[in-house]
Symmetry: C2
């Protein structure tokens, strides 16, 4: 046994003795972030619960949201009219799931058949990506095709070839800005190619999960090209479903979610929605509007989030650089926004790293979770979520992670 | 032309001259009822938003509800354990729709195949019934078989025969208490027979929409036999899905919905839910628990509702009796709870009554809406919803309705 391996093992035993209990898995806001929104809870009272126009919000109805919230999400999701917006409940995952469910049971605008009646339905899954997107596909028996993530976004050479040839490919998941977990923002070229590309399926859909659109870590943030405008120009406006929510802006469990797209797509969705609900929680929408006032208000609010979480991201990067810099055992992303840092070990080490870390009390997202079928072909990607733990916890956890990366690499 | 018809037509022309604008369609609480719940809006504040046990409610998680709300709905929906309850979002229609959607896409506990993969799926629809139940069936291509409503509930002779013979009959909709629109409460015999009957389908389900379980108009209210216990005794516990909500108790748009059933059924539902959401709005659950405190608190609250709406129901009945009593042109229900009065004209008159009333400014629920495919074979049922308008408006509207019933009858 090499002395290097021995020394790493010794350090690992020392870490074990500390009886740590740390968790870097949770892509959710920390308490300090949630505190920023607390005043919202005082803004609707028994004497004051109406919309800006004075409408009563307590009864049934308003299936696509109160007027000012539709205007708010029109700006947020960057479409041109309130008719292109549906404000939902508290979960954009729910809106995405239900869109897929309805496409399966009934088809979308332009479908000849419900997708479930086709022999096979496939989705492109840029990876590493968001595990819950992949779960939705798996749940509905949709075959997932892994597409590489490049520093510019999903690999469009791969995508264009696949969608042009295979009409059973009906969709693609994209987290276009500060992607989960890589932090990548799609370049204008990528967005444009996605809007313009020729698809064999006439009812192909881009599921544009813009979950981190305003979640900048740097002051200015990255600009993302407007896919809705690019689709409009390319005459492919029905191609894109856009999603967003205030879950990681206001309260993760009690936020407001919305979707946007062509009027034809929204009418399709509203037709389905009218079967399943008599409307969303409008009182909570009033609460949100009073707190944010408008989209500029939301952007100011996000600067306060950045002040809280940027030091946490910096701590992860700092420990990674200090412990692993120049050692050739791993690479990592330095995102300008979002909720995650993506760590890539050398091939065949990620599972072992997660296992080693777990055994000393540091919980990491399961290796493979960021790929379809939980199968990372290179076994190298690990998703780090720095928002929830404290900076001290992050530092301790990351020191263990770095040690485990070195140890797993040395073991091989 | 008979002088009676002439005299009715004269009165109708006089009614027309009044330029009325009245609406008896809306099965939703009136403002005065909603006012009863207003104090709830002050019970969660920026300094006080935690569960009874002190858990933070602002973040993701808790897919089946906060503990005290599960206990609350355990009593409300009359099951025996919190494991038999799922607290959802703001809509029980949403829970029902999603249960059917999941049965179609995946099947339920005990299904050999997803229901959508079977040649045909049929539901029994006791009628007159709730139009949105029927819409869900139609939306998913489920064939609806009309079953008669008797004064004891759905006709079990018909039901037992049908479900014993036809394994494509997978479900039945039942509003067991103060039924929409007849106001009927199922007798113990009916509940027991539904629990015990032999079904050809191994995965038959009763969709027990107990929407009006606590919506008494009389002091004591009717007792409804406990289907969960009866199914348990009959060894058919997976047969029943039970639904309820606070929509017509707290705020119609911002209430809390829940479902209940066997642990196997709830685990099945939670498996699906975990694909589509990271949890319901827990802050709103805290608001509800603080307001009601417990199920007894809710029952007291419902007495206040009854005080407001009973005079409205009484007004409908009073006008019907005064104007149509003994004339042989119509019969009507005198419900002890719920949200509706069901008016039956002689055969072939209901559509004409709705048309006549509409032409003089009194809007009624479309004739046929209470039957599958909006097709009332006798064209006689009209649903009256007295909760939303004022007593004055109800009186004026009902005088027109009665006149239109007489006129339509005389025209024939």
């Amino acid at each position: 046994m090499s002395s290097k391996l021995e020394s790493l093992q010794l350090r690992y035993e020392e870490a074990k003795a500390k009886n740590l209990d740390l968790d870097m898995r949770r892509g959710k806001p920390g308490s300090e972030q949630l505190d920023l929104t607390l005043p919202m809870l005082d803004l609707v009272t028994s004497s004051d619960y109406k919309t800006a126009a004075g409408a009563d919000t307590r009864n049934y109805g308003g299936i696509d949201g109160i007027p000012e919230m539709k205007t708010f999400f029109k700006e947020f999701l960057e479409v041109s009219s309130e008719d292109e917006v549906i404000v939902g409940g508290n979960s954009s995952l729910n809106l995405m799931h239900d869109t897929v469910a309805r496409a399966m049971s009934h088809g979308v605008v332009g479908s000849e058949l419900p997708w479930s009646k086709l022999g096979k339905v496939k989705f492109l899954c840029p990876s590493p990506g968001y595990d819950r997107h992949f779960s939705v596909c798996q749940h509905f028996g949709i075959e997932m095709i892994t597409v590489d993530m490049t520093p510019e976004g999903p690999d469009c050479d791969q995508i264009e070839k696949l969608v042009a040839e295979d009409d059973s490919i009906k969709g693609i998941w994209v987290v276009p800005k500060y992607s989960n977990p890589t932090g990548i923002t799609c370049s204008e070229e990528v967005v444009s190619r996605l809007a313009k590309m020729t698809t064999a399926a006439t009812d192909f859909r881009i599921f544009w999960d813009n979950a981190y659109s305003v979640h900048h870590l740097a002051d200015e943030g990255y600009q993302l090209a407007n896919i809705f405008e690019l689709c409009k120009a390319a005459n492919t406006l029905d191609r894109v479903f856009i999603y967003g929510s205030s879950s990681k802006i206001s309260f993760a469990g009690s936020g407001v979610a919305a979707m946007a797209g062509s009027k034809a797509n929204m009418d399709w969705m509203k037709g389905h929605l009218s079967m399943s609900t008599i409307g969303p929680d409008k009182i909570n929408q009033v609460r949100h509007m009073r707190f944010f006032k408008d989209f500029d208000g939301l952007k100011s609010h996000m600067k306060k989030h950045a002040e809280i979480i940027k030091p946490k991201f910096d701590t992860v990067i700092e420990v990674l650089e200090a412990e692993l810099g120049g050692k050739g055992v791993a690479t990592w992303t330095k995102p300008n926004g979002g909720y995650f840092i993506s760590l890539d070990t050398n091939e065949g080490c990620a599972k072992r790293v997660v296992e080693l870390a777990d055994a000393v009390g540091v919980k990491l997202t399961g290796a493979g979770a960021t790929f379809p079928y939980k199968n990372d072909p290179k076994d190298s990607n690990i998703r780090l979520a720095p928002t929830f733990p404290s900076i001290d916890e992050i530092r301790q956890a990351m020191e263990v992670v770095c040690l485990c990366v070195e140890l797993a690499d040395a073991e091989k």
